[in-house]
């Protein structure tokens, strides 16, 4: 099973390690630039993009400000259409609900469509502990699962792997999960995709239980929507007799008509296509399926309670902000220590987990505040604003003691002209003794900078001496 993110070091440490990995940086640079260009091309094709973005932001804000009403509306609509609705206050409860549902079918294997929510709650691991194997079917998730790896991107979880690495993983691991890789497998993307098709074919055709997330849930009609590319989603959603969808409570949109906004915003922002190859929309028990919807909180109501931070819940998981971010491009996804990496992860993860670790406290600082993420966000989440807001929270919570001491000392000196002048004269007198490197924790600052030598005379002293003349 994939290792989890527990016990990850704070962002700067993990990022420094990633930046040292030349292969990783090369893979990330190529991938993020490719998709960035594709997105820009299809967004510029859409003459009313700005208006769609404003509508998308407005609709999500509407849902969030009245989420209780919309959740109850969704529940009624799904049940009216023959589906069952379950509520999970946290990840453990969601895992328990899914486990019980799978057990009730008597099956020990399930097929899965790529889903951020089930990654977040560690569903595969929870099922494995109870003897149920979850097979990931999205190509990138398959690469991650076979490689015993962790996802590093929302849309393309194996973005950190290149074709040669993927070939090696397939050859090494496919046999222990099912049909082995074909003999003479090359590293051509076409050949690798074909190997995945063969590996999963039998599994799809015999699957009895499918597990998915959803991109959208329409409160008015109870319709769930899954966008995908490969057809693995359609396989998992259509062929099994039992379908279980784990959906975060923020995934709602008010009405059927509102999908007209999101079905334009999401494909162009995520894969940079006018439309993704396949989208499935179903309402309740479609074609006689046994359908279960698990509504997941798991920290989302914490995020909702923060008037500034709650806009993070508008996120439709397109990952445009990752692809645009200069920090993500260099540090990669793993450094963020969460299934939600990049700029959106930097504001979502610490809020979802409630600043539970040193890593969480470091995430709001994993940004240069350049604002590229805000520009590309299809629902106009002001990520820099939330980053600053969360930094203030971290600072107020008692973290960064050294910085606080230094700032306190600076305030005393800067607010007293006498102390300031004395300090400046002292610095000027000992200017020859200014060290090139600072000691201890301050050394990080001088790793990449020289300390400027203090001038022989301060401006005030110069001004005073000029008047004397």
């Amino acid at each position: 099973m994939s290792p989890t993110f527990v016990g990850m070091p704070p962002f700067p440490k993990a990022a420094a390690r990633a930046v040292d990995n030349a292969q990783l940086r090369h893979n990330l640079h190529k991938a993020t630039h490719t998709i960035r260009d594709k997105r820009a091309a299809v967004v510029s094709e859409q003459p009313d993009w700005a208006a769609l973005r404003a509508a998308g932001a407005g609709l999500k804000t509407r849902v969030l400000r009245h989420l209780d009403d919309y959740l109850e509306q969704l529940e009624r609509a799904v049940e009216r259409a023959g589906g069952h609705v379950h509520w999970a206050a946290d990840g453990a409860e969601a895992n328990r609900i899914v486990l019980d549902l799978v057990r009730a079918t008597g099956e020990t294997e399930v097929v899965k469509v790529k889903s951020m929510a089930t990654q977040e709650i560690g569903l595969n691991e929870a099922l494995a502990e109870q003897g149920i194997t979850a097979y990931e079917t999205d190509l990138a998730e398959l690469i991650v699962q076979l490689g015993d790896d962790r996802p590093s991107h929302i849309l393309v979880p194996a973005i950190h792997r290149n074709r040669a690495e993927i070939r090696e993983i397939f050859q090494r691991a496919m046999a222990s999960w099912g049909r082995p890789a074909p003999d003479g497998l090359t590293d051509e993307p076409r050949a690798l995709a074909e190997a995945a098709r063969l590996h999963l074919r039998e599994r799809f055709l015999s699957a009895k239980v499918g597990i998915s997330g959803a991109n959208f849930a329409v409160a008015e009609t109870g319709t769930l929507v899954v966008l995908e590319s490969e057809g693995n989603g359609r396989m998992c959603l259509t062929l099994p007799e039992t379908l279980i969808s784990v959906v975060g409570i923020e995934k709602l949109v008010p009405t059927w008509q509102d999908l007209e906004v999101f079905m334009q915003l999401l494909p162009r922002s995520s894969t940079g296509e006018r439309m993704n190859p396949y989208t499935s929309m179903w309402t309740g028990a479609a074609e006689g399926q046994d359908f279960h919807l698990v509504l997941l909180d798991n920290g989302r109501t914490n995020v909702l309670a923060d008037e500034v931070g709650r806009q993070a819940l508008r996120c439709i998981r397109c990952s445009a902000c990752l692809n645009a971010c200069p920090v993500y491009e260099r540090a990669g996804g793993h450094a963020y220590g969460s299934v939600y990496p990049g700029p959106i992860g930097a504001i979502l993860t610490p809020q979802l987990r409630g600043f539970s670790s040193e890593l969480d406290e470091s995430l709001p600082y994993a940004s240069t505040l350049c604002g590229a993420c805000y520009d590309v966000c299809p629902v106009a989440i002001n990520i820099p604003e939330v980053l600053l807001h969360l930094r203030a929270e971290v600072a107020a919570s008692g973290a960064h003691k050294g910085e606080k001491l230094a700032m306190g000392a600076a305030r005393r000196v800067l607010s007293s002209p006498g102390l300031l002048a004395a300090g400046q004269r002292t610095a000027g007198r000992f200017r020859k003794l200014t060290p090139r490197r600072l000691p201890g924790p301050l050394a990080a600052w001088t790793d990449t900078r020289d300390i400027p030598a203090p001038p022989t005379q301060s401006f005030r002293d110069w001004w005073a001496s000029r008047e004397e003349k």
Partner: protein, 198 residues
């Protein structure tokens, strides 16, 4: 207190700042985007977009000729008989298993709506389309689009669709960009999508 009540109570307390008199409609949603547009001829645009995503497109072909060339095809009951002259037809009666569908050469269907701007065909499980597995498991899909089913924009398409039906939106053949963001056609869904516009 069950988790349903716990979550709803958490939501309500998180939203303490929202005035109790506020209704969802009070939250502004600017709808300045375009529901329709003018521009290139609809059919021309649809063909351009379909081809761009590697679908094979025919304008006013003989559907039966295209179908005959493909061998044993699943054909839902609502498909008009004039498309079927000489075609080796397989019916979903009684419903075929996934493995049986996998052994067929392809599937021939109509559609509900086509969206020109995005090159998208929407299936809604109508009589000429059948259940969702029929257009998923076989490796070849021949889809007939009538000119009066083509709209230009996504909003125009949603207006024509019924959310109570299971819907499948198809834009080109199955594809992936998971390896170095290179688009490769043909993973789990039909690897060949052929569209006949009538």
């Amino acid at each position: 207190m069950g988790s349903r009540e716990t979550i709803l109570a958490r939501v309500r307390s998180a939203l303490a700042d929202v005035p109790s008199a506020e209704t969802p409609d009070d939250v502004p949603v600017p709808r300045d985007y375009q529901r329709s547009r003018s521009g290139l001829d609809l059919v021309e645009l649809l063909v351009d977009r379909l081809v761009d995503y590697r679908a094979v497109v025919h304008l006013d072909p003989s559907v039966a000729d295209l179908a005959r060339a493909r061998g044993r095809l699943m054909v839902p009951t609502g498909v008009p008989s004039e498309w079927l002259a000489g075609v080796e037809v397989v019916r979903d009666e009684p419903p075929l298993s996934a493995t049986e569908l996998d052994a067929l050469d392809g599937v021939l269907t109509g559609c509900a709506v086509a969206i020109a701007e995005t090159g998208t065909i929407v299936l809604d499980g109508g009589e000429d389309q059948g259940r969702r597995a029929l257009t998923l498991v076989p490796d070849y899909h021949l889809c007939v689009v009538r000119r009066d089913q083509i709209v230009r924009t996504v909003p125009e398409a949603l207006e024509r669709l019924d959310p109570s039906r299971p819907l499948t939106w198809i834009s080109g053949p199955s594809a992936t960009s998971d390896i170095e963001l290179d688009r490769v056609e043909g993973v789990h869904g039909p690897r060949t999508l052929e569209v006949a516009i009538l």
